[in-house]
C-alpha cells in the first residue's frame, strides 16, 4: 500500500518537476511547480509529517507561489519573450553531469546501510511544537529575524524611486 502511494506521488512529483524545468512559458512553469509542491505535501503526509505537510501547503503552495504568480502575471511578457526557454549548450553538458552525479549518489545509497531508528513519534504536531520551542528556540527566533529582514529588504527593493 505504501509503495502504491509512493509510486503515484513520486511519479506526479517527477513529472511536474521535469515540466517546471523544461516548459517554455514561465507561467506554465510556475503551475508545474505548484503541482510539484502539492505532490511533496502528499509525500510528507504519507511520511507522517503532518505539520510540515500543512505548512508546505500554506507557506509554499500559497504564500511563496502567490508571490511568483503575482509578479509573473503583472509583468508584460511580450517584452521578454526572448528570455523564455532554455539554453541548449548547457543542457547538452549539464544533463550527463547531473545523471552521473545521481548515479554515484544512488549507488552509495543503495549499497549503504541506514542508521538504526532511535524512537517513535506519537502526536506529530505536538512533538514538533515542543521541540521547536525548547531545543530550537534560538534558531526559531533567528528565523523570524531573517523573515523580518527579508520583508524590509523586499519593501526597499520593490518600492518605486521618487
Amino acid at each position: 500500500m505504501e509503495w502504491v502511494i509512493f509510486s503515484f506521488l513520486s511519479l506526479w512529483l517527477l513529472v511536474s518537476v521535469v515540466g517546471a524545468i523544461f516548459v517554455r512559458n514561465p507561467v506554465h512553469s510556475i503551475l508545474f511547480f505548484l503541482s510539484s509542491v502539492l505532490a511533496i505535501a502528499g509525500l510528507f503526509l504519507s511520511l507522517g509529517a503532518e505539520l510540515i505537510a500543512g505548512l508546505q501547503l500554506i507557506i509554499y503552495a500559497v504564500a511563496i507561489v502567490v508571490f511568483y504568480v503575482l509578479v509573473i502575471t503583472t509583468i508584460p511578457w511580450e517584452k521578454v519573450k526572448r528570455f523564455e526557454g532554455i539554453y541548449k549548450r548547457e543542457l547538452i553538458f549539464g544533463l550527463p553531469a547531473v545523471s552521473i552525479i545521481f548515479g554515484l549518489i544512488a549507488y552509495l545509497i543503495i549499497r549503504g546501510n541506514l542508521a538504526e531508528p532511535v524512537g517513535t513519534v506519537g502526536d506529530n504536531v505536538r512533538e514538533v511544537g515542543r521541540t521547536l520551542f525548547t531545543s530550537y528556540l534560538f534558531p526559531f527566533e533567528v528565523a523570524s529575524v531573517i523573515l523580518l529582514v527579508a520583508m524590509i529588504g523586499a519593501i526597499l527593493l520593490g518600492r518605486k524611486e521618487e
Binding site: L57, V69, V125
Partner: protein, 339 residues
C-alpha cells in the same frame, strides 16, 4: 476482505455521498438565494419553472451546459481550462475535513462521518481556502482581458489579507481546544460543555468577516463588483465554465466555511437529542444552514466596500484585533487554564 479494502470502500462511499450532496445542495442554494433576494426586495424570485420555481436550477444547468463555449482571442488555452479546476477543487476539498457527526457503527465497522480525520484539519482548511486564489488569478490572467485581470488581482489581495487574519483568529480556538483536528475541537467543546463562541466572541465576528471576504460575498465582493468590473475574473468564460466559478466561490465555499464556523464556534453536532440517531446531523446541518442563511441575508442588505478599504480594514483593524484576541486568550489560558 482486508481492513484496507474496507476502509477504502467506506471512504469512497463517503466521498461520493458528500460530493453529490454538496453539489446538489449548492445548486439548490442558487434557487434559495434568488428566492431570498426576491422576497427581500418584495419580489417573488423564480416561480415559473416547476412548483415555486423548484426546477429552476435544473433548467439553469441545462441552459449552461448546452451553451456554446467561446475562448477569447489571445487566451492561454491550457491555463484557461485549468483555472476552472483550480477554482472548483479546493472548494470541494474543504468538505473533506468537516465532521458531520459522531462515530457510528455499520455492520461491525466503525465509520466516522468525515472523509479525512487528520491531525491538521484546520491547517488544511487554511491551505484549501488560500489555494482558491489560483483559480481566480489564473482565470483572470489566462482570459487575456483587462477587467478579468483587475478582478482577479483584487481577489488575490483580498484572499491574502484575510487568510492571515483568519489564521490568527482561529488560533484562539485552537489554544482553547488544544488540537488542530476538527473532530478534536468539537469534542473539546462537548467536554467543556460550552460553545467556543461564548469564549471567543471577537474571534467569531472576525471569522465571520473573513468568511465573507474569502467567499467573495457582500460587503467584500470587490472582485466582481458588477458596476465596475462587469462580473470580475470569470467574465470571459462561457457556459458551465462560467457557472462553475460562482458555484465554487459563492455556494460551495460559503457552505464549507459555515460548516467550519459551526465546528469552531458552535459545538459542531452537539445539541438536544430530538431525532434519535439522526439528531447530530440535524443539528449540524441546522447550524450550518443558519449561517449560510445569514450570509445570504447579508448579501442583500449591505452595500459594497471600496476596493481600497477592504484590504485596509484587514491589515489595519482586523489583524491587530485578532492578535490582541490571541494574546489575551493565551495569557488568560496560562493564568487560569487547567492543565
Amino acid at each position: 476482505m482486508t481492513e484496507v479494502g474496507v476502509s477504502l470502500i467506506v471512504t469512497l462511499v463517503k466521498i461520493v455521498v458528500l460530493l453529490g450532496v454538496a453539489l446538489g445542495v449548492s445548486a439548490y442554494l442558487t434557487w434559495f438565494e434568488r428566492k431570498l433576494a426576491g422576497h427581500i426586495q418584495a419580489r417573488l424570485g423564480p416561480s415559473v419553472v416547476g412548483p415555486f420555481g423548484l426546477l429552476q436550477p435544473i433548467a439553469d444547468g441545462i441552459k449552461l451546459l448546452t451553451k456554446e463555449s467561446i475562448i477569447p482571442k489571445g487566451a492561454d488555452v491550457p491555463v484557461y481550462y485549468l483555472a476552472v479546476v483550480l477554482a472548483l477543487a479546493p472548494a470541494i476539498l474543504l468538505f473533506a475535513v468537516i465532521p458531520f457527526g459522531p462515530e457510528f457503527e455499520v455492520f461491525g465497522y466503525k465509520v466516522k462521518p468525515i472523509i479525512a480525520d487528520v491531525n491538521i484539519g484546520l491547517l488544511l482548511v487554511f491551505a484549501m481556502g488560500s489555494l482558491l486564489v489560483y483559480g481566480t488569478i489564473f482565470s483572470g490572467w489566462a482570459s487575456n482581458s483587462k477587467y478579468a485581470f483587475i478582478g482577479s488581482l483584487r481577489k488575490a489581495a483580498v484572499i491574502i489579507a484575510y487568510e492571515v487574519v483568519l489564521g490568527f483568529t482561529v488560533l484562539g480556538v485552537v489554544l482553547l481546544a488544544g488540537t488542530l483536528s476538527t473532530v478534536g475541537i468539537v469534542e473539546a467543546q462537548a467536554e467543556k460543555g460550552v460553545w467556543f463562541v461564548f469564549y471567543q466572541p471577537v474571534a467569531f465576528i472576525l471569522y465571520l468577516f473573513c468568511m465573507l471576504a474569502e467567499s467573495g460575498r457582500v460587503p467584500f465582493d470587490i472582485q466582481e463588483a458588477e458596476a465596475e468590473l462587469v462580473t470580475g475574473y470569470h467574465v470571459e468564460y462561457g457556459g458551465m465554465r462560467f457557472g462553475a466559478f460562482p458555484l465554487a466561490e459563492w455556494y460551495l465555499n460559503v457552505m464549507a466555511l459555515s460548516a467550519i464556523a459551526v465546528v469552531l464556534f458552535f459545538g459542531g453536532w452537539s445539541g438536544p437529542n430530538i431525532l434519535g440517531p439522526l439528531s447530530p446531523y440535524f443539528w449540524f446541518l441546522a447550524k450550518m444552514f443558519g449561517l449560510v442563511f445569514f450570509v445570504l441575508w447579508l448579501h442583500w442588505t449591505l452595500p459594497r466596500f471600496q476596493a481600497r478599504d477592504v484590504t485596509e480594514i484587514a491589515w489595519k483593524i482586523m489583524l491587530p484585533l485578532a492578535l490582541v484576541n490571541l494574546v489575551v486568550t493565551a495569557v488568560v489560558l496560562y493564568m487560569f487554564g487547567g492543565e
